[in-house]
Amino acid sequence: MGIFCKSTLDGEAVDHCFSALLGLGQNADPSYLDWLLKAWGWTLAVAGLGLTIALLLGIIMGTLRTLPNTGGLSRLLVRLSTAWVELFRNIPVLVQVFLWYHVIPAFVLPLKALPSYWLVSIALGFFTSARIAEQVRAGIQSLPSGQRAAATALGLTTAQSYRYVILPMALRIVIPPLTSESMNVIKNSSVAFAVSVPELTLFAMQAQEETSHGVEIYLAVTALYALSAFTVNRVMALIEKRGRVPGFIAASNDSALAH
């Protein structure tokens, strides 16, 4: 694994593997380890932003899909959210990344000012939101219908019954599938290489080409992806444990790991 202490400029060993990252010596060449860790940071930035967008939009769209048929507005919202899910889950994520990077900024000029990793995160977020919406919808529909009926009987409006009765239970139920979707976001962030975001996969491709130490470099990158996904898995398990309602939902983390 000696390659990681070599300079990215001339291939010579550097004094300290973390030289540039730690700011040791202003003139120190950056090592491959510096580059790797920076790339990891980009992966986490793309995935973190993408996951935030995906959770927000996914929970909103999934909820809208279950609205009761009470009038023109709710029917319209159900249709819109259904169309949203179908649109964003039937186009490959890489194609969606190209759309957001090459196509949409040509029509929506302000997007040209955004850094490219934002555009990838938006693409990743929208793609994943369709899948999260389906999980949220399934979670809401798995609740006994008596819950909604009881909320109505108490005089709660539709919005109130979602806020106080349905969503608190449904969101707990969907934590295991959301865990695997969150891990998918980390994995899918690798498509950012295609629009030159300097994240782990692009690092792997470029460093492999430069050094011909492909195996070591791929091993390190793969380990960082696995570590990131595993961390997300543990954080979600913690959230699930903290949020558990006594007597409800015998949650199993196995199901999240198995997806």
Binding site: E86, L87, N90, I91, P92, V93, L94, V95, Q96, F98, L99, H102, V103, A106, F107, M183, I186, K187, N188, S189, S190, V191, F193, A194, T201, A204, M205, Q208, G214, V215, Y218, V221, T222, Y225, A226, A229, F230, A258
Partner: protein
Amino acid sequence: MLSLDLGFYNWELFTSYILKGLLFSVQLTVIATVGGIVVGTFLALMRLSGKPALVYPATFYINTMRSIPLVMVILWFFLLIPMLIGRPIGADLSATITFIAFEAAFFSEIVRAGIQSVPKGQSYAGEALGMTYGQNMRLIVLPQAFRNMIPVFMTQTIILFQDTSLVYAIGAYDLLKGFEIAGKNYGRPIETYILAAATYFLICFSLSKVVRAIQAKVAIIR
């Protein structure tokens, strides 16, 4: 505001750029589905065998494949296969091997769930009739399991078809690449990306409608 002109997208462009890519994407999907189901079934049987020497390697393989981004798996195989066999290998063949190996891990989990969905009494009855393990699986358990799994298999195949676009990483000529090259040669990259998205959408959306229809049928049988 930019104006779109899709008039350049004609039969000649389709046959000279897109068709080749479409055929490769479809071929890759079909081979990876069939190969993935075959290999995946063996992996599932290993996991369910109860013998540690079979359970642990299968579990390790499945969990590894599932925790690595597909793009990295594609890159790994493209790097390792030439090292192992000692000569370079084309992107197409490398992609085919990768997808079979990768999808096997996902299909094996579907098969495992399918086998576990068959009531235990079925395999007990098979054993009581004096069937060997192989006979019991082949004649009793797997036929019932596979029928239950058909909709899930098809859903996975749609995801697989979308995932084939990731062979972009090693430069194989698939449907997306066909549109991209056409876009470059005709100087219309924006339009071709939109057409690529529309093509993928039409194929995946129609297939998912078919899956829903089949799902309804299978649900009645169960």
